[in-house]
């Protein structure tokens, strides 16, 4: 039988930390939880594939060919790979190389990755009854939401930005001095960071908001990936029939990508930026209403 000794359950009359520390406690705990899962780590490294591909091209371009020249004579194909053009014809000196190396392929991977890491983040808590623990503490639902949002944002940034930044730093460090690689590329790096941060934050916001309404992680993940994929396909089909780029407004990730392209100064898709901004605004308001409706302590507690 447990007994109480003088040790333990001491009084505490020190100060209490503010809301920022509490939000960060939620974020860091979530990140630690995610990174402690072996399955997640495997998936995480798989999702870094575009950045790894970019790394390989930089390595071939600046070390193998410019360096020892080991690949010289391996044929035109390899020489093209080592040239200024990247894997799909994008120059490794341009922002597009770092924005979306696989021309949409990276975005598809990001969507699947985001679904796996973020779509079930609140659904998991709801299923375990954790919301009752959070909402009976000294935090508002908004602080809880922000804590989860920051965690998902960081996980998405890891996938779409940090890998590329490592590639860029690597490229800068190994590029021959006469290539002027740093001078050519550094001006777009802040815009690239801003664009990808915006892209990830929007996706994270929609993901976390959507996650509030269910207690099934599997459903949440399938809903996110399924709905976005379906909308993308529908937009593509309509585009073929109607021959207008505005059909892409049906696809939320195309909308946010269009805005991010504008921020980064990357080659824009043909969708109008102002229409994309309007749709983005509407979707964000809807997500906010959705989250508010489903994160009500009075319905969770008791």
């Amino acid at each position: 039988m447990t007994t109480i000794h003088d040790f333990g359950l001491r009084g505490y009359d020190g100060g209490r930390v503010g809301v920022v520390d509490r939000v960060l406690a939620i974020t860091t705990t979530e990140l630690r939880r995610v990174f402690s899962k072996r399955l997640f780590l495997m998936f995480f490294f798989a999702a870094l594939a575009p950045a790894i591909i970019a790394f390989v091209f930089v390595w071939i371009r600046f070390i193998v060919i410019e360096g020892s020249g080991q690949l010289v004579g391996f044929g035109n194909g390899m020489n093209r790979m080592g040239g200024d053009a990247g894997p799909v014809g994008r120059s490794i000196f341009g922002v597009d190389f770092f924005f979306d190396i696989l021309r949409g392929g990276s975005t598809a991977l990001t969507l699947i990755y985001s679904g796996v890491v973020g779509a079930g983040i609140i659904a998991r808590d709801r299923a375990a009854g954790a919301l009752e623990i959070y909402f009976t503490r000294g935090i508002r639902p908004l602080a809880y939401f922000l804590g989860k949002l920051l965690a998902v944002w960081f996980l998405l940034l890891c996938q779409v930005l940090f890998g590329y930044l490592v590639v860029w730093i690597f490229a800068v460090s190994v590029a021959p001095t006469d290539s002027n690689y740093f001078a050519t590329t550094w001006p777009f790096i802040p815009r690239l960071i801003a664009a990808q941060s915006f892209f990830c934050l929007t996706l994270a916001f929609w993901l976390v908001a959507l996650s509030t309404s269910t207690d099934s992680v599997r459903f949440a993940v399938l809903r996110w990936i399924g709905v976005l994929a379906a909308l993308r396909i529908i937009a593509g089909v309509l585009n073929r029939f109607l021959m207008t780029p505005e059909t892409n407004l049906l696809s939320p990730h195309q909308v946010v990508k269009r805005i991010a392209q504008a921020i980064a100064g990357a080659e824009p898709s043909s969708m109008s930026l102002s229409s994309a901004l309007v749709v983005w605004g509407i979707l964000c308001v809807l997500a906010l209403i959705w989250a508010r409706r489903h994160l009500r302590p009075v319905e969770v507690v008791g």
């Binding site: 007994t3 109480i4 100060g15 209490r16 939620i26 375990a128 009854g129 009976t136 503490r137």
Partner: protein, 337 residues
Amino acid sequence: MQPPPTTRDPAEPFREREPIVVLEDFTVRYGKFTAVDRASFKMPHGACGLLGQNGAGKSSILKAVLGLVRPAGGSARVAGFDAVRDGLALRDHVGYMPEKEAFLPGLSGLDSVILAGRLSGLPKGVAKQRAHEVLWLVGLDEARYRDVAGYSLGMKQKVKLAMALVHDAQLLFLDEPTNGLDPEGRAEILALLRDVVRVKNKSLILSSHILADVEAICEHAVLIDHGRIVAQGSIDALTRGVARSYDVRAEGAVDAFERRLREAALLVDVVAPVDGHDVLASERASLQVQLAEGQGTEIVFELARSVGANIRRFEPKRRTMSDVFLETVRANAGVRA
């Protein structure tokens, strides 16, 4: 003259002489439905049972005293805080143990308690240290490093209790803390709660359907029915003896004594002893005696002497909380009808 502050400064310690919960005409409505109807009670420091049938309004009162519900009327002061205005500050100083299974998924017992502490405003280092201490206190030793999802029900209850205690809560709200536990687990949690109240000087509100738990832990009880408080007071007062009703145990010619009591129309009931559960009077039945108005207790002793029986126990019969609860609910149903 400046009016007195309506809420407490969080930096000030709570004065234990004040009632820890004060509800005045507190009304909670969900749309047209009135969940709590002008509830008023003062709960002194200590342990208080909150009793009521399903849907009686217990959860609404719990939400109200946690500052999660905006009332339609009235006021609620909890641990010195205005629960309506200062719900956030209040929740830093109270602990809540939910009835349903509730754990932080993917976290160990230790990480769960640390996060609970940090969410209640403890700095990270303090939360870590206190989490270890409080987990040791509730009896989770090495298991604290394992994922909570793999815990037994009893261990999950202990983690929930540790999360409710870690931030030095002055008042605990416990919703069915022994629900689903085996007898050993139940006894362990009850012993812990008793110690928390009596040794560590915490207050708690225990909402439970197991009235024996309330009697075991609490000094006070509030009975709620259809959103109204129908009885409140100390358990001692609520279960005080039924007028002129006695529990008598005898040895010797017990059968003859029982017959004489029956003939004198004094015997109400005979409660047979349960094997092995009444060691001191294992062979004695409990004779439930009811005296008429103006009748002295000597008559029982005279009847025993006349048949050669020896009375070994003679005490006023107490009602259980179960009796009190049923009587009150039935009476209230009559009033409503």
